[in-house]
Assembly symmetry: C3
Homo-oligomer: 261 residues x 3
Amino acid sequence: MSIITLTTDFGTGSPYVAAMKGVILSIAPDVTLVDLTHDVPAQDVRHAAMVLDSVCPRFPKDTIHVVVVDPGVGTERAIVYARMDGRHYIAPDNGALSRLAEHYPPEKLIRLANPAFWLPEVSNTFHGRDIMAPAAAHLAGGTPPERLGPPHAELVAVPRLRGYRGDRRIEGAVEQIDSYGNLITNITADMLEGRPTDERACIICGIYETYGVFRTYAEQPPGTLVAIIGSTGQLELAVVGDNAAMRLGIERGTIVVVAWD
Amino acid sequence: MSIITLTTDFGTGSPYVAAMKGVILSIAPDVTLVDLTHDVPAQDVRHAAMVLDSVCPRFPKDTIHVVVVDPGVGTERAIVYARMDGRHYIAPDNGALSRLAEHYPPEKLIRLANPAFWLPEVSNTFHGRDIMAPAAAHLAGGTPPERLGPPHAELVAVPRLRGYRGDRRIEGAVEQIDSYGNLITNITADMLEGRPTDERACIICGIYETYGVFRTYAEQPPGTLVAIIGSTGQLELAVVGDNAAMRLGIERGTIVVVAWD
Amino acid sequence: MSIITLTTDFGTGSPYVAAMKGVILSIAPDVTLVDLTHDVPAQDVRHAAMVLDSVCPRFPKDTIHVVVVDPGVGTERAIVYARMDGRHYIAPDNGALSRLAEHYPPEKLIRLANPAFWLPEVSNTFHGRDIMAPAAAHLAGGTPPERLGPPHAELVAVPRLRGYRGDRRIEGAVEQIDSYGNLITNITADMLEGRPTDERACIICGIYETYGVFRTYAEQPPGTLVAIIGSTGQLELAVVGDNAAMRLGIERGTIVVVAWD
């Protein structure tokens, strides 16, 4: 039984999501559907790229991941099939797959150009329902990806803003804010390797600072700003028992520095 | 394996939804459950009717669609089973099915009056859990609809506000606002047939106007107000790359006019 | 085919939920996953306890309920397996299961201490993904709970605030506000037994009062404050056709009194 996941910016509860599910189940009634998330900020391809990179590899091999964050719908941008690390991806070629592709170079790339695997009527504004959903369902039913269209040369890359690793400092930024208000940065555990992480490390986020990188939120008293290595291997700032983003007024893009003297 | 979809106004994340799923899986453990949407505005039967009409026909024949938007729960309003276009519907008879019924005249109508297919204890306020969920699960398990109760004469109709098609103008209104803030009107592609849709057509929405009906959002520069025929075959107004409802302060019910001179 | 439900405070649409689903499906690809709710207020164990108590018993016996509301993640709090009333629960031992345990004394308690059933790498901040999800998936695959770890003596209890039943009055409080804005109290139908519930009963909620306990919302005209026994057997206050919490400015914890003279 195949698994198909859906990632969109339609908003949870959008009937557009349900329409895609109806199309998929009409072609492949036995698939297991999983909502990866529908709360990608509207048309935010970079955010989608980050979420896909952190979550998709948790799914079994052969999972079919469908991504509909598609600001260019109806233009000449390609819709592609990619196989990476034994999993299948269907998405507009707009950079949404670029972070995954950095870690898992594509084993196969196809351009979805064969209308035999689309709905008979294709709208100009909802290719998720009319092209991507049926293509995913046909894959789940055993159609080889080669039948979906010709080879596609290369994925569009959206460069990731990486942290900078200097001599006495590492510079980065808040890349994502989770539903607890924790501030997830683009500074990774690797970048900290070989550096002290005890109270000699000063972590600065906007106008706030804290010392040392801790193991868990709960090691410090409520209300304290703490830095930890989060569950995705990235440096994360949190206020114990509170919402750091709201409490401190921090937004995505805020500069984060780790410094030693 | 049967598919049961759920449409409610409980709000995504409501434990009431989960209670219905528990009841269904207790009777029919092998069904595939799909959330159609739980974000129908509270008690907004007309909105439910619109969503059901656009999404339910995308599902396979024999899907069982359960609808719990039920301002009259506990009163004498009937709960009905309807078969339309080979799909099954269970809903309070309050108009929620009326737009579907316009397109797909009911092939069978039953009043859910046989408590043998309800939970043993029926509350006064949650017939979704106590009557509709178990009835749907019994249908999924093979119970013929006739056993759920006696025939039901006719569905309550909630008249749809249709656009008006005059000589040099078509008048309608914003019927729905999607999660991108696009303004979906009750003016359909059919109503525009035979009329020019190039720059001779002036589309007026509240105090704003734009010229021509385009194929896609992306044909115009960001920030532009554009009119297109959307993925449900309805005239739709959008601001490219932005949220039209918020940007322009437009609400459901705003008058939309297409005029030629 | 096993059923696994997920209850978290991650927020609907959180990719953290999807990561747990990926882990579960990688180990047990045939399970049926059900979202119980992901909208427990952040770290609100008491709220989780209430939701679990009202919804979990609706699911079939042998359902595996996984609960990740875990303010103490990374500290010494135990993660436990509990069997209650023939259903399986995996949760941090922080009181989230305490209301269920009042009604269904645990038949078996295990402390999840055997890393053989965890992910190979365990983060300090996301035991839902790294310990609870894989343990649940292994249970679904037939692993006996005894293999997950040693017996656990007793569940942490978080005492429930109960209503007080006096001679001419019952005192309680608003315990939960549902998505319609209805005010659900900790005064139960049992507590009202033997007392008049007609207009002799005066129900006071904050600065508002109403007389009599009704069967359904719809018995009174729109805009009226009514008291009913809700679908969970608790006294509930609602404004007909409106959102009582917003209309009256009532919050959780507001005192509710039923009085007779």
